[in-house]
């Protein structure tokens, strides 16, 4: 079987984002999804620090440190974009106005719980940012991550062991090996990479998976 590389996965997530969607892309890997949204379409990228209509990274000579994304990287503003304060920005997030958010995760449960802010290590200095607001507020929460950790443990689990970010909020998991629908009925497999079978995926995950209807 052939794992999807990060770029292929980003392109795959982008395919499920319809034109006109208001989208928040999390820091790191999810940010790359923007590169695969069709240039000719109108997609509305939201940044928690008060931007709607975020555009791509600027040329070096156009960098403006008052125009950064949630990851503190320089960005641009599309024609038609706008600025607002943090109260309004989180009204968009908490109030259900963001159609899709894409986040990374340490773990996701088959019922859509997500853990992505804290490893639980006793000496870790915690930082949470806007992850909990997005988890609870976006209409759809997509998670993007490798299915297995570096040590081979499955990050899609019956029950998260890391500290939670949000409960029963993730609707889809896009991983390098398969794409899953999550919810009250557990995880259903939507797609698998070539060469992977449901049986093999059950073995890798230790979960009693079925295909989505």
């Amino acid at each position: 079987m052939q794992r999807m590389d990060k770029e292929t996965l980003a392109a795959r997530v982008a395919r499920d984002i319809p034109e006109g969607a208001y989208v928040n892309l999390g820091i790191g890997q999810p940010t790359t999804v923007a590169n695969y949204l069709p240039m000719e379409g109108d997609f509305f990228l939201h940044s928690e620090n008060g931007i709607l209509g975020m555009g791509p990274a600027p040329a070096d000579e156009d960098i403006d440190w008052d125009l950064i994304n949630a990851g503190k990287q320089p960005v641009t503003l599309l024609t038609g974009g706008c600025f607002f304060h943090h109260g309004d920005s989180f009204t968009m997030m908490r109030g259900g106005h963001i159609d899709i958010c894409v986040m990374g995760a340490y773990q996701v449960s088959v019922h859509g719980d997500i853990a992505n802010w804290h490893t639980g290590a006793p000496d870790a200095i915690p930082a949470v940012g806007g992850a909990m607001d997005l988890a609870v507020g976006a209409k759809q929460v997509f998670v993007m991550m490798n299915l297995l950790s570096k040590t081979g443990e499955c990050k899609l689990v019956e029950r998260c062991t890391y500290p939670l970010t949000g409960l029963a909020c993730v609707s889809r998991l896009y991983s390098d090996l398969a794409i899953f629908e999550l919810g009250p009925d557990g995880a259903k497999v939507i797609e698998m990479v070539d060469g992977l079978t449901l049986e093999k995926l059950r073995e890798l995950t230790g979960l009693d998976l079925t295909m989505a209807g």
């Binding site: 006109g20 038609g80 706008c82 009204t91 106005h97």
Partner: protein
């Protein structure tokens, strides 16, 4: 290409249905989306809940809807005004339910709906008739009343200008409830004096970002300035 503008008032309100809760912007006459309300009258939807500061005067705006007996309930802070004859007649006849809400609680409950809060403890109205039967709590030596968000299916809003993404700017005190109602309704429909090309509205100056707006319909020359 996303274009939220629609050419006619009829199309703008085509999604309405019986029993809908509708927020209507405006304070006095300023910011009242009169033509959109006329379109609601023409549409025929009935059994409506209207959430607005006032309940209309004369035969226009919300008063026209009430006159046509389309309104089951009004949520307002100041429904009785000089000329609110249709409201008064229906109310006295027992045809119209009224939920009277202090104006700031009306604003705060609309904001709570828009921002996804489950409830708020507000000091306004504590110890008055309007808090009777409601949960109260003393917090840090002050008394508060628990109030719940006011959601709506539709918001009808009047603004000055919009672009095709639904970004809005307003005019003077006609802004009033428009921006917060746009945030609190499932479907926000806006009448504007002018549709401008994308990019003409300064990104620093947009009052309501398009994320809160579903449809925009031009009603030229209907701002107070042009009246």
């Amino acid at each position: 290409m996303i274009d939220k503008t629609v050419p006619t008032l009829e199309e703008a309100v085509s999604g309405l249905y019986d029993g809908a809760a509708i927020m209507v912007s405006g304070f006095g006459e300023a910011g009242v989306p009169a033509e959109l309300i006329d379109a609601v009258v023409d549409h025929g939807a009935t059994d409506l809940t209207i959430i607005s500061n006032n309940a209309g005067t004369g035969d226009v705006g919300i008063a026209a809807l009430i006159k046509a007996n389309r309104v089951r309930k009004v949520i307002a802070s100041y429904p009785r005004m000089a000329g609110s004859v249709h409201f008064e007649a229906r109310y006295r006849a027992g045809d119209l339910e009224l939920e009277l809400v202090p104006q700031g609680n009306l604003a705060a409950r609309i904001q709570a709906a828009g921002s996804g809060l489950g409830a708020i403890f507000t000091p306004t109205g504590f110890g008055t008739m309007l808090a009777e039967g409601k949960e109260t709590r003393e917090i840090d030596g002050r008394n508060y009343v628990l109030e719940y968000p006011i959601h709506a299916d539709f918001a009808l809003v009047k603004a000055l200008k919009a672009d095709r993404w639904g970004n809005l700017v307003f005019r003077k005190a006609a802004r009033n409830f428009g921006p917060i109602m746009a945030m609190a309704a499932k479907h926000t429909i806006v009448q504007v004096s002018e549709i401008v090309p994308l990019g003409e509205l300064d990104p620093e100056v947009i009052v309501t970002p398009g994320i809160f707006v579903e449809r925009v319909v031009p009603v030229p020359g209907k701002s107070a300035a042009a009246a």
